[in-house]
Amino acid sequence: MRRTLPATLAAITLAGSLAACQGGGDTGTTTTAFDPATCQGGTLSVLNQGGITHLDPARLYTSGGGNIPSLLFRTLTTRNRLAGEAGTKPAPDLATDLGTPSDGAKTWNYTLRDDIFFEDGTPITSADVKYGIERSFAPELPGGAPYLRDWLVGAAAYPGPYKAPEGLTSIETPDAKTIIFKLSKPEGDFPFLATATQFAPVPKAKDKGADYEAHPVSSGPYMVEKYEPKKTLTLVRNPHWSKAADTLRYACPDRIEVTSGLDAAVINQRLTSGAGQDANAVTTDAVVGPEQLAQLGSGSELDKRVARGEFPSTTYLAFNTKKAPFDNPKVREALSYAINRTSVVNALGGSAVVGPSTTFLPPQKALGYQPYDYFPAGDNGDPAKAKEVLAAAGVTNLTIELAHQNDDSEGIGPKVAAAIQDAFKQAGVTVTLNAIDTATYRDVTGKPATQPGLALATWGADWPSGGPFLIPIFDGRQIITAGGNFNQSQYNDPAVNAEIDAIQALTDPAEAQARWGALDAKLGKLALVLPLTHEKDVYLYGKNVKNAVPDGWRGTYDLARISVK
């Protein structure tokens, strides 16, 4: 059966900070003349809000290997750890290159490097990579991204190596250095997917199933010394990792200590004052709060300790176009005029950390962003125009219900809902709020049978490309009635579906970007969704921290390159 292509957003509750798929930095501080050769030493502290709930590569849902996991796990490819545009591209990691496609991008062939070892000195083989991928299919190890089940031939029904030890036939390992993937359709984005932790090697002899994550076998520069879920993770150097074999990870600190479960305000306070070990501290998930924002931009000392990045994500209102009154395009347009994006921005933390969006694609070139604003609402909405549109359409006394999560942890909770309620009230539209438990929110909104007419939603890129951003939301063949549906507008236009297929067959990224952008602009005219904001990230780091450069993929600085010497 066909599967959806879900993407993720920052710090979803399950994978916590490990799913640090923040990215797409375009600015960032310019630290000149950083020499990776002399950066060694010291202990880096990571102060985080979200706890690490899983450390098993099969169970992590991360983009580009995640921030902390990529210190432990090398994958076939990984994100190119650079600022800006360059950082949105994949780079070879365990493999010698980004992979060789054949059969119209339905077969991908990788060759492993020669100088790669597990933390116990055992050489890493293609069988280890294959086994790692197979594990992620086991129902005992849920949580990983679902792409592989969808893309690999015959994988949808594969129950994992514990029940089916014979393994997946669509992954071939003719020798210890070669691994070949057979896909069911062309996937030009395969090198992006190969950055996921499911592509990390797992030695079968060391696999303890659900208990493996207590001490996952490292292939990266660090290995686990101590791990307590949701509390602490201490990493020390892996003696069998060599810098020569891994040019992307600088691995400067000798030791990395992650503390999680802290309050965001406390983290920022500690980073600001930087007492003791806090001078060597960073955070990967606590965006600055108003107190620090007040000090920024005034030439204070804190200005020098700020990293700014942008992770491609959009918060939007999803219309169910199969339900009245949202089947009426004029109603959707009127609401698009009425929206007060400043209120929404403020509800989410102010203009420093989110920006208003009139497009569905966030403003990253890698995704193919093209600006448009078909229903200009200005900063504070245009209720008069909205009323006018409604009146012209003969709609009066409009009362609608808005579904939202019951807490603000994912930014689509009561705060934003209240802001939207107020904005629509100015246009004479009465909004009643329908809070749905955060834990079941996606289940309710993901089944067309239970999907509300209007729901707050958010979408982030699993990798920086237009495809994973637009396909799940607008491809009519992705409407899944059994659950897990993300095409909430339930929009199905054969022409659009055909265009998606055409872009996916393209091999030139630049050409693909332009076509994705054009498609977004075309869909925007239909007001199928009401884009609200996109994410901007402002992170502080400690006084001693050097080379805190946000990469273009996830919008946060890369721990593998930070130095506290």
Binding site: P142, G143, G209, P229, K231, A275
Partner: protein
Amino acid sequence: MTGYLLRRVGGAIVVLLGLSIIVYALFYLAPKDPAILTCGKGCTPDRLAEVRAAMGLDASPPAQYWEFLRGLFLGRDFPAGPDVRHCPAPCLGYSFETDQPVTKLLTDRLPVSASLAIGAEILSLAVGIGAGLLSGLRRFRILDRIVNGLILAGYAVPVFLVGLFLLLLFCVRLQWLPFPTYVPFTTDPAAWAENLILPWIALAVIQSAAYARLTRAGVQESLAEDHVRTARAYGIPEGRIVRTRALRGALVPLVTLTAIDLAAIMASAVLTETMFGLPGVGQLLVGAVNQIDLPVVVGVTLLTGFLVVVANAVADLLYAAVDPRVQLR
């Protein structure tokens, strides 16, 4: 005494079983599926069914409860990859969220809650008994008034308000103390105390009010009793009367209350733990409830119940110890 203990234990088992049944029932009545969370984003119905089966959620609720009970007394095996993993009795299962044994989660959290509870109790008792005694003896009118006011204020402030105020004052304005993070006593006793002092004070502000009230009432009541009059009539000095008789009388309700409060803080200082970011049992529960982490919720509830039951028994024993008139049967 033996009969008393036997009945106590029997009663405790009934209470705990009842509690676990209620929690199970509530969670299966609630329209929520923990497998959805575990399965993660973009989970298909097929995959969801597999995950649900792997979590043992496909069986009927009574069957699941039966398995849970068996695990509690006999231990239990869980399928988990290449081998089964054995969870020895008393097995509370594995957390849906982090896959850790619930017993380990509880034993990890308990020291935090115990540190909070014990420190807060000691502080509350010292302040409460002192204030209550001073005002109960009515040596200084003005003091009586002040204590009275404090008692009322202690009644009227919610713990999070005290906590907020303390944080604002000591961590933000004065910067005398760090923002509390839990440091185990065994790691660094000084840091342990330094980080816990604010939560202790916050709890003590409220708790000591109750103790002061109780001490004052107990002292005043004891002093009005006939046997105190007898002691006075036989020339026993007032100080000695207060020490050996009045305080003794006030102690009786106080010790029972202390035992119960200790358990209550350990089990349910949710607000204090949230306010000060302490990873205690209360926080564990709040997180587990939000994540529909049934094994953890059941585990915490049982632990809470266990603590309360034990505290009540201890209170009775203490009661019998401080008051010779009381016999346990």
